[in-house]
């Protein structure tokens, strides 16, 4: 019966293309959206993950950067440095604002870096310097290219002009980028010279970042210390919480489109074969045999649709970065499992109506068709 389903499916090429293509597009919509959001999630923590720190120390109860503000007094740097297990510290200033390039305004994490910062700065430079001097900014290469900005050009950050002194790679996502200026400039623009936002901590070799973070919280008053991994997870969670409803709605739309396309094509395919199913029934096929054929047809269509949808999504995820777009498509195994599960549900539901149609089919119809 599986062979019959296969042959029925492939005999009508146009119907197969519509069926498989419709399902593929619907599943691709779900997969791509998932991949975009996974990419955004991953890129949104790109600074935290590549900062080189083992621990992020922030103002008490501040657990992420996105839409958050942290302020720590200068004295914290000295105290944390004295905590056993701490090897190096780098204070950074942070604010979420725009980098203005001509008429374009690009949302960015503005990071203020101290002179000679050993870590916390850009991790991959495509051209120019890697540490901003006074009046200089290091911005994302892709964003700069998109806006036609080159090394030596001027951009506006927090209302002041900065000369582009370096272009960094992998510091942009679909929603924002990271721009680096000197901590002195940052303090001048903000009018606050005695505080900073986060303290990045490197632990000594062989020391547990988790234990050290606990020790920092015990030793230093009014701070929250988290390992970089925990801080990154918190950041992702905030983004995820903000985008969950959108993803759910888009997934639902994709699911319903896939279901509608599949249900319609399986239904019409079964309707077109109704006389043949009647013949099989007359010859002695049981309803179970015919249900299997219909279900197999739906499963094969959905499986091919899933494969095509996945192939297109992977192709897009390979092509998009080459186009210079600040978007990353990341197909996760969780997304594959989810879309695979949805595909099975689509196949199952779309086969229900045709199965009901077949169950009521009178085998004696073979003698009445003429």
């Amino acid at each position: 019966m599986t062979r019959l389903a296969f042959r029925n499916l492939f005999q009508n090429k146009i119907r197969m293309v519509i069926s498989v293509g419709g399902v593929a597009l619907a599943l691709m919509l779900i997969l791509s959206l998932d991949a975009i959001f996974t990419g955004v999630e991953q890129r949104i923590t790109v600074y935290i993950d590549n900062s080189g720190a083992d621990i992020f120390v922030s103002q008490s109860d501040v657990r992420n950067m996105h839409m958050a503000s942290s302020s720590l007094p200068d004295s914290v740097t000295r105290i944390v440095k004295a905590v056993p297990g701490v090897a190096k510290v780098t204070p950074i200033s942070y604010i979420s604002n725009y980098v203005v390039m001509g008429d374009e305004r690009n949302l960015a994490y503005i990071i203020g870096l101290p002179d000679m910062a050993e870590f916390g700065g850009p991790w991959k430079i495509s051209s120019g310097g890697s540490l901003p001097e006074e009046g200089e900014a290091i911005i994302d290469r892709a964003i700069a290219e998109k806006s036609g900005v080159h090394l030596g050009d001027e951009v506006k950050i927090l209302g002041e002009e900065f000369e582009v002194a370096g272009l960094a790679e992998e510091t942009s996502s679909l929603v924002n980028s990271v721009a680096f200026i000197s901590m002195d400039d940052f303090a001048e623009l903000r009018g606050n010279y005695d505080t900073f936002s986060f303290l990045l901590v490197k632990v000594k070799e062989g020391v547990s970042p988790q234990d050290t973070a606990k020790r920092i919280e015990a030793w230093v008053r009014d701070v929250t210390a988290q390992t970089t991994e925990a801080f990154s997870n918190q950041e992702r969670k905030v983004v995820k919480d903000m985008s969950t409803d959108v993803i759910t709605i888009m997934n639902l739309i994709g699911f319903l489109i896939g279901l509608a396309v599949m249900a319609l094509t399986v239904y019409t395919a079964t309707l077109a074969r109704r006389p043949e199913y009647g013949v099989l029934k007359a010859l002695g096929a049981r309803n179970g045999h015919l249900y299997r054929a219909v279900l197999a047809q739906a499963l094969i269509s959905v499986a091919i649709g899933f494969a095509v949808g996945l192939a297109i999504t992977l192709l897009l995820s390979a092509i998009i970065p080459r186009l210079g777009l600040s978007m990353v498509l990341q197909v996760s195994s969780a997304s594959l499992l989810k879309v695979g599960g949805l595909s099975l549900v689509i196949a199952g539901i779309s086969a229900v109506l045709p199965i009901r149609q077949i169950s009521g089919l009178d085998p004696a119809v073979v003698f009445r068709s003429k």
Binding site: G284, A364, V366, F367, K370
Partner: protein, 294 residues
């Protein structure tokens, strides 16, 4: 449990008898009740070919459907080799149809997406035969029927006669005791029709299977052991029948629509045929009006 199919072609079916005992089929109820078949009794011996003829709407299809366990009679009993199939529960009937009956249809009714070989093998597979064995048996049957070079052809690539031979192979693959054929020559030209008739005769005489044919085709009378006339849901004596010289239909001798022309009586199925006869009597009067032999 799947089993291997023994040598299929040429197998002799077990001695079988189909018995139809006072079978009636009614549709509707009360004032709208219609009896499509009324108190019909019939017995078909193993190896016998029975041809059932009759006008459209006479109940032939209903009777054939009941004989093939596709339809349950309202009254009466149908037995195959002593087993009462008319009283069987619905869920037992697919097995009976699969193993005891072979069906041959006017429109061939082959599955368009499957090759000739697969069309035959699928019925054996439904009966629990392993795929490889089913394909092997189907290939032998089709080859014996002269379709050895057409095994992998789709039905659309086959001629009418070839399609009907595939249908015959499909009807035989599960070694049934009874073959039920519905207008098996209707869509075939004269030569191919004769070939199909010869095959049906072989199936009955060499393999010992009972064959019941429903048809309007007068040529099939040549191979039938018995010809039965079904009209208004009942069998009637065919000695009292004649052939309409215009349309060729078999009509009753006591038909009111008759005329005498140059000393000979002509019987018609309808006034239309009689009027057409009158318009060109010389064209039709030479046609035989001999009563049909029963």
């Amino acid at each position: 449990m799947k089993k291997d199919l023994a040598d299929v072609p040429g197998r002799l079916a077990p001695t079988s008898t189909l018995e139809v005992d006072h079978v009636t089929k009614r549709y509707g109820s009360g004032d709208t009740e219609v009896a499509a078949v009324r108190e019909v009794s019939l017995s078909v011996a193993a190896g016998e070919i029975v041809l059932i003829m009759g006008p459209s709407g006479s109940g032939k299809t209903t009777l054939l459907s009941m004989l093939g366990a596709l339809l349950k009679p309202s009254a009466g009993e149908i037995r195959l080799n002593g087993e009462v199939i008319s009283a069987m529960r619905e869920n037992h009937l697919p097995d009976i149809r699969l193993r005891k009956f072979g069906f041959i249809f006017q429109d061939f009714n082959l599955l368009s997406a499957l090759s000739a070989l697969e069309n035959v093998a699928i019925v054996a597979e439904l009966a629990g035969i392993k795929r490889s064995a089913a394909r092997k048996a189907a290939a032998i049957l089709l080859t014996n029927l002269g379709l050895g070079d057409r095994l992998n052809f789709l039905p659309e690539k086959l001629s009418g006669g070839e399609k009907q031979r595939v249908a015959i192979a499909r009807a035989l693959i599960n070694d049934p005791a009874l073959i039920l054929a519905d207008e098996p020559t209707a869509n075939l030209d004269s030569k191919i029709g004769h070939e199909i008739m010869r095959l049906l005769r072989q199936i009955a005489k060499k393999q010992g299977r009972s064959v019941v044919i429903v048809s309007h085709d007068q040529r099939i009378k040549d191979i039938a052991d018995r010809v039965l006339w079904l009209e208004d849901g009942q069998f009637k004596d065919m000695v009292t029948m004649a052939t309409d010289p215009v349309c060729g239909m078999t009509v009753e001798l006591d038909n009111e629509i008759k005329i005498e022309w140059e000393g000979q009586l002509f019987y018609f199925c309808a006034k239309g045929c009689r009027d057409e006869f009158f318009s060109h009597p010389e064209q039709f009067s030479s046609r035989s009006v001999q009563p049909v032999k029963g």
